[in-house]
Amino acid sequence: MAANDLTKRPALGQRSASLRRRHLLAALFKACCVGLTAAAVAVLGLLIYQVAADGLPWLDMQFLTNFPSRFAEKAGVKSALFGTLWIVTLTALISLPVGVLAAIYLEDYAPPSRLTRVIEINIANLAGVPSIVYGILGLAIFVRFMGLERSVLAGALTMSLLILPVIIISAKEAIRAVPASIRLAAFAVGATHWQVVRAHVLPAALPGILTGVILALSRAIGETAPLIMIGALTYVAFVPAGPMDEFTALPIQIFNWVSRPQQEFHELAAAGIIVLLVVLLSMNALAVLIRYQGTRK
């Protein structure tokens, strides 16, 4: 009873030493978090400032509409920008249905067997494989074996392989987040499994799925290694007209410019980075917008 004897406790205004220490610890932890976040933001800010300082003077319509050139004043990113847009579009068209259907299968249909578990674990492992390995795979399968050459299609297929694990995992998470009670309610009014998935699981999971897909595509946009591996060109003076055309992409063009000795080309690379960042940030903004639309409903 002694411990509960309220009369022996200090008055409310007097904090005990232990409580003061706990508050101090909490304040220290908060300061740590704020400090580290600020450091990360500062580094990012510095990076963007440097890129902007170098690149902005070069950024004009001509930069977007010109093909690369060995004269820095005439050089532009038209072919690289279009190449990147081609790759992203094709990659989305390939990886979205495959990834989402795989996720639906694994979450909703696959029997809870050892085989299913092995598949799920390996998909998680694949998400961690270095991108260059996918490049080698793409070179062997799409470029050589399937004879697709150095085409946009070969690049998009390789990129799809690269981001499929991420798409499947995020889509699985989104599908799993749909409450079981909703599924049961749908089954209880005489729905078939497909009707439950189609009318309730997919709509509820869609914002999450699309966010995952767009973030994965953003990653694909920045990838250089697998594209170099499958033989994307570094100098292209035309815009791909179809999926079987040769291509280049923004990160490859940037890499190419950076590796030249002249200062002007380094500044061009900075301008290219800005273009790449704008494409990337617009895609992320789209992801945020979709998520917002989804949660508002």
């Binding site: 009670s181 599924r183 049961l184 089954f187 209880a188 009014v189 005489g190 078939t192 309730h200 509820a204």
Partner: protein, 253 residues
């Protein structure tokens, strides 16, 4: 109990196990048409499991095995030629927590009849179901609002309307009031009394006052076994088993 009618639903020697652990043990029970049958018993006694077996909702749980028979109008509910979708068309369900679809009030009720292509005007059907569930007056002007904006009690009545719109013969209710306040609970109990005219209701509840208030028959389950089953009045006032008496008088559980 003195009911000589043919049972609508009948469990015969039903044993249900999760990964080998029996949750329901050798239960035989007859459910009669247009009556309310309550299943009571302490938590974990298997009453929800037994209820779910009556419209094959246990099919969605992994590692469930079931022995014995469940007959619906004398045909096997689990027969090889029986489609579980058909079963759930005739035997609807209301769950423990209100679980409306995150869609409009109208679509919550209309979805089941639409996908099953039930005959008649869907607007008429939705209105009828909402009226039966005593919700129509509260929602008639905002049928396109999200069901999630309704209160908990309204959501549960919406779920009842959703089940009624299918015009099932039986409605299974799994502790339908356990997440509701006393006022909402009273409304749903009144509603069950109304619904008895047209529907057969099986309700699982751990609220004994509720069971004694609304039901015609009461089954008492303990540790998966059916201890006693009979007229509600008898089970509550003159139980044959000592354990039933202990439970309904609140000596344990």
């Amino acid at each position: 109990m003195k009911n000589t009618d043919l049972p609508l639903l009948e469990a015969r020697g039903v044993t249900i196990s999760y990964s080998g652990n029996a949750a329901v043990k050798d239960v035989s029970l007859a459910i009669y048409e247009k009556k309310i049958t309550a299943i009571i018993g302490p938590s974990g006694c298997g009453k929800s499991t037994l209820l779910r077996s009556l419209n094959r909702m246990n099919d969605f749980i992994d590692n469930v095995t079931q022995e014995g028979q469940i007959l619906y109008r004398n045909s096997d509910l689990y027969g090889a030629d029986v489609d579980p979708v058909e079963v759930r068309l005739r035997i609807g369900m209301v769950f423990q927590r209100p679980n409306p679809f995150p869609k409009s009030i109208f679509r919550n009720v209309a979805w089941g009849p639409t996908i099953n292509r039930l005959p008649g005007d869907i607007n008429v059907r939705v209105e009828r179901a909402l009226k039966q569930a005593a919700l129509w007056n509260e929602v008639k002007d905002r049928l396109d609002d999200s069901a999630l904006n309704l209160s908990g009690g309204q959501q549960q009545r919406l779920c009842i309307a959703r089940a009624l719109a299918m015009e099932p013969e039986v409605i299974l209710m799994d502790e339908p009031c356990s997440a509701l306040d006393p006022v909402s609970t009273a409304r749903i109990e009144d509603l069950m009394y109304e619904l008895k005219q047209n529907y057969t209701i099986v309700i699982v509840t751990h609220n004994m006052q509720q069971a004694s208030r609304v039901s015609d028959y009461t089954a008492f389950l303990e540790s998966g076994r059916l201890i006693e089953y009979g007229d509600t009045d008898e089970v509550f006032t003159r139980p044959k088993q000592k354990r039933t008496e202990d439970y309904v008088t609140g000596r344990f559980g």
